[in-house]
Amino acid sequence: MKRRKSIETILSHAGLCSDPATGAISTPIYQTATFGHPRLGESTGFDYSRTSNPTRLVLERMLADLEQGNRAYAFSSGMAAITSLMTLFKPGDKVLVSDDLYGGTYRLFEKTFKPWNLNAEFVDFSDLAAVEQSLDRNVKAFFIETPTNPLMKITDLKKAAKLACTHDALVIVDNTFMTPYCQRPIPLGADIVVHSGTKYLSGHNDTLAGVVVAKTAGLAAKIGFIQNATGAVLAPFDSWLVLRGLKTLAVRMDRSQENAATVAAWLTKRKGVRTVYFPGLSGHPGQRIHKTQSSGPGAIISFRVAGPAVVKKIINRVKTITFAESLGGVESLITYPISQTHADICAAMRDRIGVTDDLLRLSIGIESCDDLIADLDQAIG
């Protein structure tokens, strides 16, 4: 059997020689809305860029290959990807969703889809027995983040997929934090993978993007219809930026994860820091499962301090690390979930899951680890 090229090779060749006309190493940016037909009724395969654009298609094929799915679709943002995906379902359907999740996803479910009677129930997916309790015949899908945002809870994907199967439910995994470099949900049993490509895939905090990868041709066709009909497509230039970012995904993830492991270990010993959440720390709940389904701990660390006053002090004092939303770029960022990424989640749920005013989230980049630790050290004081 022909050996599948290793992922580092696949990534560094993202878009390589995709232009048959010239052999250009870098994918051309097809900055075009429409395409000439050689003859009436004959198409080059491209008619209108909303439906399909050659630059976007190179990216989409790359993503399908990386996630080992049948077909991938690129959208103008992660939220556009999730919105489009959710319109696969209909009123009366229910989706069981990881209860520790990005606030924008929560907002979409509660404010946009709930009024349409498309309901989400938020459950702790690190406890599949609890998930089973919530299964009823309206449940049509699981929507899982693993590790979760921001408390790094782990879900056993294989077991979750088996459970979903008994109920004929689809398994959707938001793989933003891990990326296909570290975790591939489809071979583990997922039906659909979703990404905010804005984060690690592009890797430079310079473009928004969303991705949906479908395991089967049947699902792919349905998602393709939605992408075309509702048109939240990723533009050619931005597709090209994501492709460019993918080329360094492996080295960026390697360096970020290495840094994150060192920073996390340092944080556990640092005075003034209470709990540290990082899948790479021994004793992290679910670490054993995480190690069976992924090849790295990721580069996101959450940690608790004494309270909002300390939070404010740290945020105001960091110099190397930037206080901003988002994550996954080459530059390290610090975020305050309760007021930023998770602000839309109702207080009761935030309290229940532990997103409180003493929690900070770090996205570790590829700076010198010593500089990052020195910065945190002076900021924590």
Binding site: Q31, S77, W116, L208, A232, K312, S326
Partner: protein, 373 residues
């Protein structure tokens, strides 16, 4: 033309392209102007402010495509159980949204011939919350008395959305005529160069902006900064392009009307075009889209196959002339019987007239129509 073209920080006469997904927060305790690209991006904002100014609306919003704009506008204002009254001959993609996507969510519709505004009155029911119109319509350029529709809508407390793609605010300002929301495929005349896909929604009343902003942010079908910048760039030449393309279109329409092999020409600028007088009240130009019905199917197909200068493609609104065949292209989503009942038969050609020398365009059409097989 001058709005959105100056960078405050440096005075640059072209707004920078902010390829940024996130922004440094100066103060943890206070919300900042720029937080995350999906919610707001300076390049996109410059475009959105420009769109609002052009349409004389309170706020503008830019999307990744016309369909994304249309979908977002509907999602912002319509809920499950609502009913929409829509123009009967409408772009195929909008038709598909209304018939193939929204009904699943309990949003129903009725198509109405809006050349007579009273037909709308008859179609309104208890659950009607939206009137969705195109004027001129695509592709037969049927005209609606916009003010009359706005009046009917207001009487019933119904929202109106008008797809102003063909005219652009340079020629027609629906919000000034009483319409609540203007929607565009900015891919077409606004962009003007067939080089980007984009959509726009502009609301008249400030209190309507919140719903669109929320849906744009939550569902995230935003236009990227690069394409926002390209769209601003395109808009700079909108007036010059529309003027010349409109003049070309009138000449082409008049010439087509004289040809023995055409059975009908559709162009608001022809005095025989139904609604021509109403149109002059609500628009300051006739646009650059002309449709024509040929005498035979063979003629229509021959023209499509033999033109050399005209581009055979989907879409419209660019500086290069495009010849489309609605039956197989823009209106392929509409089932045959319905499509033919609307008059979009296999003899209809749609011409988007560009900036070429109009005599060159005419010469090419003539050779394509008359060359023996």
């Amino acid at each position: 033309m001058h709005t959105a073209s100056r960078d405050a920080a440096t005075g640059a006469l072209s707004i920078p392209i902010y390829n940024a997904s996130t922004f440094h927060q100066a103060d943890v305790e206070k919300p900042q102007e720029w937080e995350y690209g999906r919610g707001g991006n300076p390049t996109r904002r410059a475009l959105e402010e420009l769109l609002a100014k052009l349409e004389n609306g309170a706020a503008g919003f830019a999307f990744s495509s016309g369909m994304a704009a249309m979908t977002t506008a509907v999602m912002a204002f319509v809920k499950a159980g609502d009913h929409i009254v829509a123009t009967r001959d409408i772009y195929g993609g909008t038709y598909r949204l209304l018939t193939g996507f929204l009904p699943k969510f309990g949003i129903m519709h009725t198509f109405v011939d809006m050349t007579d505004a009273q037909n709308i009155e008859r179609a309104i029911g208890k659950s009607t919350t939206l009137i969705l119109l195109e004027s001129p319509s695509n592709p037969l350029l049927r005209l609606t008395d916009i003010e009359a529709v706005a009046g009917i809508a207001k009487k019933h407390g119904i929202l109106t959305i008008l797809d102003n793609t063909f005219m652009t605010p340079y020629l027609q300002r629906p919000l000034d005529l009483g319409i609540d929301v203007s929607v565009h495929s900015a891919t077409k005349f606004l962009g003007g160069h067939s080089d980007l896909i984009a959509g726009a929604v502009i609301v008249k009343a400030p209190e309507r902006a919140g719903a669109v902003k929320f849906t744009q942010n939550t569902c995230g079908a935003v236009l990227g900064p690069q394409d926002s910048w390209l769209l601003i760039r395109g808009i700079k030449t909108l007036s010059a392009r529309m003027d010349t393309q409109g003049a070309n279109a009138l000449r082409v329409a008049e010439w087509l009307a004289e040809q023995p092999w055409t059975s009908q020409v559709y162009y608001p600028g022809l005095s025989a075009h139904p609604g021509h007088e109403i149109f002059k009240r609500q628009a300051t130009g006739f646009g650059a889209v002309v449709s024509v019905k040929t005498d035979t199917v063979e003629r229509a197909l021959a023209i499509m196959k033999r033109v050399k200068l005209w581009n055979v493609a989907v879409s419209l609104g660019g500086v290069e002339s495009i010849l489309s065949y609605p039956r197989l292209m823009s209106h392929a989503s509409i089932p045959t019987t319905e499509r033919e009942a609307l008059g979009i038969t296999d003899t209809v050609l749609r011409l988007s007239i560009g900036l070429e020398d109009v005599e060159d365009l005419i010469e090419d059409l003539e050779q394509a129509a008359l060359t023996p097989p």
